[in-house]
Symmetry: D4
Subunit: 220 residues, 8 copies
């Protein structure tokens, strides 16, 4: 099937290679999940189609398909979750990207919470939940349109904020570019940014930060 998995990546980078769905045949996906399952590795595929999901799930009953997040996940060996990452969405339409982020954190065995629909036009909504912003390892803020939420969140927390701009919006939203540019120019120092709609990447960074903070018995 012409796919060359980077199986050594877990050793080098801490986590195995994640499968990018687009352009892969269903057979290729089945093969990959089969191989990783045999090696008892956890596995994650993102941006899968319903058709790809069907092929894999009908073969392996322990693979979890999240239709909203467009992910396939093979849980791997049991192990306790560590850390605390909060995923926040600005509006209802940003939910599917948040789901991709949650699946990624589950795959990483990092504890995650979700806070939805607290966009800046209703500023009291976030303030009502300030207590949930305490004691976090990292925050993933998913927001489209003007992408202002990471800056506001960044002003309330003492941990890294990963901004995930989404393609939600129309016209001058330019498919997410407005939100992306906004987040890159955030006047909050603790905001860093990933690609538009990159729920996976935002969560991966956050999860890595959390994991490494809690796993190490005595880091360095």
């Amino acid at each position: 099937t012409g796919v060359r998995l980077d199986l050594d990546r877990a050793r080098r980078c801490g986590f195995p290679e994640v499968v990018y769905g687009p352009g892969k045949s269903s057979e290729a996906l089945v093969e990959i999940f089969g191989r990783l399952r045999d090696e008892r590795q956890a596995a994650l595929a993102t941006r899968v189609t319903a058709e790809q999901a069907d092929s894999v799930c009908s073969q392996f009953s322990d693979v979890i398909y999240n239709a909203q997040g467009r992910t396939l996940r093979l849980p791997g060996s049991e192990q306790p979750s560590v850390g605390r990452v909060l995923v926040i969405t600005a509006g209802t339409s940003d939910r599917n990207i948040a789901e991709e982020a949650l699946e990624t954190l589950a795959w990483m065995h990092v504890s995650a919470e979700l806070l939805v629909d607290v966009g800046v036009a209703g500023p009291h909504r976030l303030i009502e939940h300030l207590d949930r912003l305490d004691g976090l390892d990292a925050v993933v803020v998913v927001a489209g349109m003007e992408g202002a939420l990471p800056s506001v969140v960044g002003g309330w927390v003492d941990c890294p904020v990963i901004g995930v701009p989404t393609s939600v919006g129309y016209g001058a939203a330019l498919g997410g570019m407005a939100a992306l540019l906004g987040m890159l120019n955030s006047c909050a120092s603790n905001v860093t940014v990933v690609n538009i709609d990159a729920g996976f990447k935002g969560a991966y960074i956050a999860g890595m930060i959390a994991k490494r903070r809690h796993d190490a018995t005595s880091p360095v």
Copy 2:
């Protein structure tokens, strides 16, 4: 001097034509201010250079030069100010655009207040001043970088918010385009937008709203 002033504009549009400085000779500016002064009209010129300002002010001692705002203003006949417009800046560097806005409101005989440096990365700074957001006719929000402040202000007030994106920032700020796009995509319904660095225009709209709300003995 080849300048054709639209002298009828005050009748048609409520306020006379404002002079755009760039590309005009100092002589042309002196002539314009002289003519309007003779007719006892108020006058405003924007984006003037220090050199243009010198020429006009050395001729007419009652013309006020605001170096930070780059404006020349001839106060015209005395008349009481009406309304209440608040000009807010996100950061210190947005001040010169705010000055242009304040001069414009002074020229329109609209009462203006200034609140500076309350950018979203210090969210409590705005909240400390929520009382100043009450009873306004309009707000002019001047902000560069990610331009998130109008959305946040928009969520606290019951009047129109005029967003003035500024060219403050670097890199992906794209000379103010990031802030402009952000404001255009604001999820707050009461946010409308003018050109980058257009302190004059933002204040003109706000002043017009205030003036017409208070002037009319019985509108319509």
Copy 3:
């Protein structure tokens, strides 16, 4: 259904939160309209699909679906309309955005009029209707392609002009960016701008200006 309505917004901002249709399930919309209907609040949803509309209207017979404007509106308690806002379109194809604007004004209880197809290439068409430009609170100008109409209208009226660029056009229209940029650079001082195709937003600003000018027994 995971939707967190900003129910306090009417108190803070003068009008309740408007529902943005995309990405919401039909059940979520039915639930929202049901809740607001129980509280006897007026409600507006924008950019709804025919399918979403069917679900809501088959449940609540008093909800009005405007297919051209893609809106759902629940009229709320009877109350007289105030003010006078004119909605102008440049061409026939801008009509659907004008409809969104008209529905928004109806929801706000602001009187609205419509003037269509008076684009600048037939300059006499607008001039024939100059009388309709008198005594307005605000104008909403809906125009695609080069977006020149707000500037021309701005030169004839003494009230704020809200430019709504549309995605009408092709090639260098860039999905409405040409019209948007044109309006932002308007040489008419009273022109302010909202997002491409944002009929809702343009009307919301205009309606707010009209409402506040007429409602207040004695403002300030």
Copy 4:
């Protein structure tokens, strides 16, 4: 001096090659004007610096330097001007580009008139001059900011309108791109466009249309 003039162009294209100033040494310019002068050809150089102009004019007293239009022109053999082209500017700052256009028409021996500062925000200004729009061969409309003037002019005349967008403006004017895009999307059918600040090109097209309409004793 490494310059290869296309001396055959007059035969092929009706007019000789025009010299583009940037990147040429003063010596090269002196040589070119000398050569063309020896051959008793008319010559035009555009976008010349004051330094280049000095070198050429100190050598040849019959070369005319238009500092505002940044052109050098050698009139060539006497011959009557034909046709009628109107050059219109939207604002005072567009004047230098209009000067480049006027010099080009003079070099082509085409009669030209100038109408300045009739931008769309003062719509009556153009209407007062409608009589000057009659009986023209072509119009060159020079406008920056939103670039709306060609559309409006296009709606009043029965001849081609050449739009010349200028880099006048700031922020979202994007160095003339807003005006350029606006003109390209003009809803007036008779508007065609040249590059930003291309006064030379706009006038060249207009002059060619005028010349060919009047020169031919019996065309075809």
Copy 5:
């Protein structure tokens, strides 16, 4: 049907208003063609769908539908064609835009010829046809991808060249922007440009130039 035709345009601009198909109902189109037919005017509609065409043609048998050019044309009163305009395409895929141009010229009663597939990568192809470039009133050059053909044609002819960039190409063609920018920067002085895919506009300018050159018994 809410359409306000600019019926006076023929008097002001020489040709009646052309109907832009998108966003108009089939009924509106039938009504427009019916009205113009009753007044014995020629009519042209562009960018019509097959469905719109069916409705009009099944009603009026003398309306001509050009499916490739997406136009509907009502020939109007018989009258001889004048002038000579050449329409050139760079590649096979530019043909549909050329058809729109040809229909427009037919509607204007201007004689048109077609030369296809002579793109610059086969430079001898154009050279073989240099004789066809003689004695023209104007050339319409339709080209996508790099849009280089107008510059080359411009170097061979003594009349205006109207460049029509097309959206043919992929990747960095950016939907025709590459060709548009190329043509705007043409180093040939006689090249002017219209919008991407604007076969109608390119032909309209060319036809107007031709018509006015030949119609006038004694122009001015």
Copy 6:
């Protein structure tokens, strides 16, 4: 069918014209392949649809359809392959563009090899294959997303590297513009670039370099 093949191109440019599929009717394609087959020339058509392929292949059994590469190829007269070109892909999704490249090299009679899925995030994957980078005439590197692979490959080889950016990716990939810009700015001196998804062009350049290096008995 209105297609003017540049049949002389093989003499001028070394290889015959390649057929660009989009916008050509199936009949036109059948005719072209028929004509070239009669003349015993090799032929290549790119970006063909399944429908176009069916028409041609059902007529001529010796034409090879590569569905993944979207090409039709007529092998022409037998002749040995020369040279050595390596086609490398960064990810699995770049495969279809690599197939277009391989078909082009086969049509040119240049020997080609394929190395897939060695993107920079797994740096050891390329290093394991460094031996395959020896003794090449040229490398074609097909990569989407950040398009970093050509720079890395360029640092290991002593021959030209042709970068083919692909539209693989989402969000800020901007349809391949990110990869294109990346490759254009490559800090490796031996990297040159073709259009996004232009597998044909990348291979054509590489093949031409290889062919000319090996064909000439004694070049110059």
Copy 7:
């Protein structure tokens, strides 16, 4: 001086507000440093001019000016550095941004190392230093042009990589946009991005990650 420092930020966000130099008067800067010095806080100002630096340093001898990094730093109370952050540059010209990063880490009391000039076109240069990539808390990769280095580094380390695109390059580098887009599309999962030339921000995120990993006696 009109500056409203967010003095509470250290409590909320872990570190005090950093001063953004542009647009601030020298007096304002002196006042700020004076105030923070009185409170025995550490202080950092970025993007300061030589003139601003002179004013501050001539007043307070313990403030350190880094001319290459354009920073002013007041060390504050002595305290041991923790963690291990590596700052890598692709080329020599990226050094000034790396200096801004190093000053930021010094101000945060985080241990930092520097590895310069290991761009991807000399791939062995990074490989020679692979040992320095072990045991890090985070890496800050500063790179202009194609911005490929973060992806390559990302493939070798098990910690977060903060990509800082720089404006180094010309032409299609688009002032750093090419590098920015490249990094956003990185196929390495652990790469996150900050604004162009934002050495401060890249280091702030990295420093925060390091600090929080080592400071906490027992996190959560």
Copy 8:
């Protein structure tokens, strides 16, 4: 001086690393040239300032400074030039980029010729020189504005054409982006492209092709 030269590059890539001037101190440059001179290697630095050049040349009398091309070149050991590369410019202003290309070819010991000012608007100029297009190894075409020349040259030659877009032009030339996009979309199959103003890179590719074609006694 913090510069880490990739001294192994000659072995890996066939030619040593070229020095990029911007951001390097004069001392660093002197040191680099000194070191390479000691090793009797040829050396090339590009984009050097007059000041940098002075420092190096006053130290080493055998280093050649090309002020127009902004290069410093140390010839290295004598060796005969091979191959034949033609450098073509479209206009006079493209000359400085052509000089950079010529210096690069001289440094590579590849024979180069120059043909200037043969832009497409004077199509006969290139045709007069068709004989010079025979027997080449590669062509470097340097062109700004619309960048059409590589396509035309590509149609006449049987070797690779390296297009070097330049920043010559104004307005919609967008600093060379118009020429770059044009060349990328070239309909000539043998055109490949490098960065804007990248005379060095264009020549490097061409020189490498020429060198490898002639050097090899028996390639592969």
